[in-house]
């Protein structure tokens, strides 16, 4: 079982909306560590570093393009320290999110530039002690390829990848779950899956499609706790722990090996999801 959302938890801990969450890895690592610890206490076997937007292009938007190495290494190290306090094995997944720009020919970003940015980030994550590189929330297979090649260029850590199928069951670039599995397995990922998107129901349909196409590669599912809606000035996610627990059980029965949460999920969700999948054997959840 993986973990849940980081950014929204950090906001509760005082992250200014709009600031780079990765800054806290260096400037307030205790805040980051306490989020990791909350998920570890809930029972997560995999925790994900607070480095989603830690590539040079994105940090440059916060005038912090020169902090890539420092903030990613610190993000990996704080997760490693939180995990070290546990008396069980915990896997640290180094989060690598999209550049935020469209690659050529659709957009302007050159493949090699994207690859170099990803390589730089992955090198820092490896230096900080992550166990796997988790390329997340991708929409474009070219960008996935750039990220995988970037990761491979600087080390030999296992590479996992998730894409977001939020547009009529495809990514916003039009890639279907089946095409995505096919391509990323050919790129050589050790695990593939889907994260974010439009909530647990739609995610289960995506999971079924991926299972049929996965050729034995372990699959990852990290759904949002439903679609957010605004109540007063609060953002509310419609799927509570119970709904996510049911979702986890379904994914487990389908044969998904790595289940976690994305936007709107909390340690309470993860705890319920673990409870619901306990004792699943065989093709079920890899709880460790």
């Amino acid at each position: 079982m993986g973990d849940g959302a980081m950014g929204t938890m950090l906001q509760t801990a005082g992250l200014e909306p709009g600031d780079a969450p990765e800054r806290l890895n260096a400037e307030n690592p205790e805040a980051v560590r306490s989020v990791h610890e909350a998920y570890l206490q809930a029972g997560s076997d995999v925790i994900t570093t607070n480095t989603f937007g830690g590539n040079r292009r994105r940090l440059a938007l916060h005038h912090a393009g020169d902090r890539v190495f420092e903030w990613n290494k610190a993000g990996a190290a704080v997760a490693r320290r939180a995990a070290g306090a546990q008396d069980r094995e915990v896997i640290i997944a180094g989060s690598v999110g999209p550049t935020g720009s469209l690659l050529q020919p659709v957009g302007d970003l050159h493949f090699d530039e994207a690859k170099n940015d990803f390589a730089e980030q992955c090198a820092a994550l490896a230096e900080g002690g992550v166990d796997v590189i988790l390329i997340e929330t991708m929409s474009d297979l070219e960008e996935v390829r750039a990220a995988i090649e970037g990761a491979r260029a600087v080390g030999d850590l296992p590479v996992f990848c998730t894409m977001t199928f939020d547009t009529h069951g495809r990514t916003m670039m039009g890639t279907s779950p089946e095409e995505a599995v096919q391509a990323t397995v050919d790129f050589g990922v050790q695990a593939f899956g889907s994260n974010c998107g439009n909530g647990p129901g739609e995610m289960e349909e995506i999971a079924e499609k991926m299972i049929r196409a996965c050729r034995g590669v372990p699959l990852i599912i990290q759904a949002n706790a439903g679609v957010p809606r605004i109540e007063g000035d609060q953002v509310v996610y419609e799927a509570g722990p119970e709904r996510m627990a049911e979702h986890a059980r379904r994914c487990c029965d389908l044969g998904i090996r790595y289940i976690g949460g994305c936007c709107g999920t909390t340690p309470a969700h993860i705890r319920a999801m673990i409870e619901a999948t306990k004792g699943s054997d065989g093709k079920g959840a890899e709880e460790g």
């Binding site: 909306p17 916060h62 659709v106 957009g107 670039m173 039009g174 605004i230 953002v235």
Partner: protein, 214 residues
Amino acid sequence: MSRNQELTEGIIRGDRENVVRLVREDLEAGHGPVLILNDGLIPGMEKLGDQFGRGEVFIPELMAAAKAMNAAMEILRPLLEASGVEPLGKVVMGTVKGDMHDIGKNLVCMLLRGAGFEVIDLGVNTSAEQFIEALENSGARILGMSALLTTTMNRMGAIIETIRRAPFGEEVRIMVGGAPLDEDFAAKIGANGYAKDAPLAVDRFKELHAALQP
């Protein structure tokens, strides 16, 4: 296939080279720029927009078509202006303060330019004051605002309130968009329009523009 159908097909396929060639040939053959635009190019964008709304095409196809459309407009714009056709109007666009996401906003900008709007794009991380300044300096009275994050979407209401307090604030027609938004949210924060995807946004901008005309 007629010349106009060829143009329409060229737009749908995002075939910039062919679209530019056809437009030039049509102009040389004496066709008017208004007819080329209305009977050839715009139907292509409309058809593709419908396909996008149904999930039959995605961002790559839409971007390619928008690029072809904009290349054609580069040729037609001076001729349209010379023949007394006014530009459709000015729109100020930006992603709101605290939000650095601009793929969707850029797509809307491209489609608006293709549709004949003049777009003043303020980029990402735009404050209420920057929106007001751009509206003041450009004279534009249509504004488009984008947010991808639930946190920054929650600031749109305050930004709209600040804009409304500007001397011309009540005149401004404000469109909002972005993945976590919906119609109810847009109404609640006092926006004048919302669309769930980029081609629909262009339709709403056109309606807002038409309603502003005396």
